[in-house]
């Protein structure tokens, strides 16, 4: 096929160029909105089907991307096809009723009619110069723009309208109302926790209280959905647990370290006494001179031994008792200067070893005791009644601090209390109940991409409920294990704005049309309402109960059991 050669004059070329530009513009005006309208229409249909739980949910961002792709496709359709000059000429002829003048002038292949061709070209040039392309190809407002606009409005409405209260279902309205009430309660709790944290200098509690207050505010303002709020609460609980673990670990380490140091100091003191000819507290062959001294020292050593044991077991009550015994021993008096000096060194060592326990007040008190003892040993102050009372007072103060729990322990307990309170609030609210009830099939958590997996029979009691992020295939690669859910929560906590994929194990009710999630929430409210001093027992019971019901790896169960057993044993 030969390539056509066109012999166009300047006027004809210009006319064809102008016509080509106008045609391109008209095509853009037509095809871009048209493609946008069609794409938006298709996306809208898909969104409707997803709203009816027929298809997988789609995010607004994905919709926007698809619509933009459609618009780009329209632009491609409008601009990509090459427009041949002859085609443009023919099209212009049709529009302007030029009776094949342009195409004839462009092709002019008639042989032996040169004169006629010249005449025809001249005539065509005159016509080309007189053509009004604006009138010929008017850039009018095509109906496709209106159609695209309407389709876009429909799409936006499909996302926006369901968020309006007027379109909420009765269940959703109930959920939101319950969420607001819970938000108010949670704010009170957060304020209380913040106050306690400020008074007792509880840094971790202060952080959690702040976060809790923020969540409570968003729940009150309905700036979050009930489902998201509950997930956020779950994440917060998880964080609190981690904080508790960290506090407990640090405190345990610090106390263990202090107990170890105290033990070393006691051994050193023991060897020093033995070296000086003093018998050990259990030695029956002691002299009379040393007997009274040894009696006071014996009591002091016994008290310090008990303190060391209590610290090792992290038993505040025992620690307080030990300090009271030490004070009683000091009150008995008659300690030699060297004994006093040794005790001073021991208290100084204890103070140093409790640096990481997170209690400056305790450290300060212990240092003060050490200093007073040292002063008595060096004779700078007299071991009279008043100085001994002062020392006794300091020892009692240290005992109170240890007995009441050092601030870090308070942090741990405050967090537990908050978790308990949160659990109480939520478990008693309609909000919580509605969250725990997931309708199936297909009725998942709107907005989170949760839905019932269609491949699983409704009769299956171990159905999996999928929590998936926007733009990801639901639960892709997840097996519904607790570890998977933990990872989901962890990811959610790390990147709260991006919902990760996850799948959690659920179970059906006897009716077979509801799904519930087995979650590891806070301990049950009844158990945690016990006094703080029985927190360990309660905690253990709760932990073991939770572990027995949830799907927790055996190693983790063992770890928790050992932890509480240790606490119990030390008590």
């Amino acid at each position: 096929m030969s390539i056509p050669v066109y012999h166009s004059s300047q006027s004809l070329s210009t006319a064809i160029q102008k016509a080509a530009i106008r045609i391109r513009l008209l095509r853009v005006l037509k095809f871009v909105p048209l493609a946008t309208a069609y794409t938006t229409l298709l996306v809208s249909v898909y969104v409707i089907t997803s709203r009816l739980h027929i298809s997988y949910p789609i995010s607004g961002y994905s919709c926007l991307v698809i619509v933009l792709l459609g618009t780009l496709a329209g632009l491609g359709i409008a601009l990509l096809p090459k427009l041949d000059p002859l085609v443009i000429a023919k099209f212009t002829e049709q529009k302007a009723s030029l009776q094949e003048r342009l195409s004839t002038a462009l092709q002019n292949e008639t042989v032996g009619a040169e004169e006629f061709i010249q005449l025809q070209r001249q005539s065509t040039d005159e016509i080309c110069e007189s053509l009004n392309f604006k009138a010929l190809f008017p850039l009018t407002f095509p109906r496709s723009i209106l159609a695209a606009f309407v389709c876009l409005v429909v799409l936006v409405m499909l996302f926006w309208l369901p968020s309006l209260p007027i379109f909420w279902s009765a269940q959703h309205k109930k959920d939101v109302a319950a969420m607001r009430i819970t938000g108010v309660k949670m704010e009170h709790l957060a304020n209380l926790a913040a106050k306690i944290a400020k008074l007792d200098h509880l840094s971790q509690t202060a952080v959690v209280a702040k976060e809790l207050k923020r969540l409570a505010k968003s729940m009150q303002n309905s700036s979050t959905t009930p489902e998201k709020a509950l997930l956020h609460r779950q994440v917060l609980t998880q964080q609190m647990r981690q904080m508790q673990n960290k506090i407990a670990h640090e405190q345990q380490n610090a106390l263990m370290n202090a107990a170890q140091k105290l033990n070393q100091s006691l051994e050193k003191m023991q060897s020093q006494l033995t070296k000086n000819g003093n018998p050990s507290p259990g030695n029956k062959g002691q002299t009379r001179e040393n007997k009274s001294t040894s009696s006071a020292m014996k009591k002091a050593l016994k008290a310090l031994n008990k303190l060391q044991q209590a610290m090792k077991a992290n038993n505040p009550a025992a620690m307080k008792q030990a300090m009271q015994q030490l004070a009683a021993a000091m009150k008995q008096g008659n300690l030699s200067k060297s004994e006093m000096s040794q005790l001073s060194q021991t208290m100084q060592s204890l103070s140093n070893s409790l640096t990481n326990a997170g209690s400056p007040e305790l450290m300060q008190t212990l240092q003060s005791i050490s200093a007073q003892m040292q002063a008595m040993a060096t004779g700078n102050i007299m071991s009279n009644q008043s100085s001994m009372q002062a020392l006794e007072g300091e020892l009692d103060k240290a005992g109170d601090i240890l007995g009441n729990g050092i601030p870090s322990t308070l942090d741990w307990r405050a967090l537990a209390m908050m978790m308990n309170a949160m659990s109480q609030q939520l478990s008693s609210s309609q909000f919580y109940n509605s969250f725990m009830r997931m309708h199936a099939p297909g009725k998942g958590i709107d907005g989170l991409g949760a839905r019932y997996r269609p491949g699983i029979s409704p009769k299956d009691p171990h159905a999996k409920i999928t929590l998936a992020s926007k733009g990801h295939s639901a639960g892709n690669g997840k097996n519904g294990s607790l570890a998977s859910f933990s990872k989901y929560l962890h990811d959610l906590a790390t990147h709260p704005k991006v919902l990760p994929n996850g799948m959690i194990a659920g179970s059906r009710t006897r009716h077979g049309n509801e799904l519930s999630i087995n979650t590891m929430g806070a301990p049950s409210p009844n158990a945690m309402s016990s006094p703080l001093y029985s927190a360990i027992e309660t905690g253990q019971r709760q932990a073991e109960s939770a572990l027995s019901h949830a799907r927790v790896p055996v190693t983790m169960k063992q770890q928790v059991h050992d932890y509480f057993s240790n606490l119990q044993h030390s008590k």
Binding site: V87, Q99, S103, G112
Partner: protein, 335 residues
Amino acid sequence: MTDLESQTVKFRKSFSQVKHEVQKVIVGNEEIIDGVITALIAGGHVLLEGVPGLGKTLLVRSLSQAVHLTFSRIQFTPDLMPSDITGTNILAEDSSGRREFRFQPGPIFAGMVLADEINRATPKTQSAMLEAMQENAVTSAGIKHKLPDPFFVLATQNPIEQEGTYPLPEAQLDRFLFKLIVPSPSYEEMSIILDRTTGIEVQTIEAVIDGEEIMQLRHLAREVPMAPNVKDYAIKVALATHPNNEGATSKVKQYVRFGTSPRGAQAMIASAKIKALVDGRYNVSIDDLNSVAFSALRHRIVLNFEGQADGISTDEIIDDVLKLTGKTTQVKLGV
């Protein structure tokens, strides 16, 4: 103004003058008059079909008066012999008493011949016109006698009186450039006809063009350029009338037995060129082809039995073909 331009101006002027003169007598029927003048310039012959009394013969007589050509009228009858038309060799005696056969030209030897009621003659006589119409010559006793140039046959036929008539064979029909259907006059036209024919005033027609000028106009018309896409359209239309062609419409496939011959496309293009010049253009357009397609093709399409039984006219077939072919040539850029 160039020489060519002045020639084209003269072309339009001559055309309109002839038309004006004819219209002095003939009321309405503008398309018929245009068709007849176009055929005259294109060098083709015209078959006029219409019921009696519509002025077919008058039209031809008026045209013959408007153009300076010798005119003869042949009234076709069943007993008309071919030699009655073409002429014959007769025994003639000269002044010296010597006898010889001499060719006596028939009425066909004229610039303009009116073959009135051509379908009343026998096929034998009708076929006597074949050579004359195609080759502008008559062969008698082995001697070819050239007809005058231009030679223009205007035949008439009555479509309603079928008794004792002999429908023209396809070969004969194909010789006609146009077949023009003369319609009945409208109310206004009838009123004017009555005024003109029942009064005292008699319109006189003047000869405004002679044979030589007609030949010049014919030559000029043939030079009009035509774009390949327009020629392509003419070809497509002609081929689309054939039932076995790919471009044939469903109607063509159902009702047509034979499509047009190449003479049909030739007739369309030749007459479209004249129409372009008359319209003041220097190129042939698709509209020109469409406007002459009915006249040029309607007698060249042969309907099958089904078409005849269903009362389908060839004009319906042509209309269908033009619509379909027109669609295929339309440029659609989506705007």
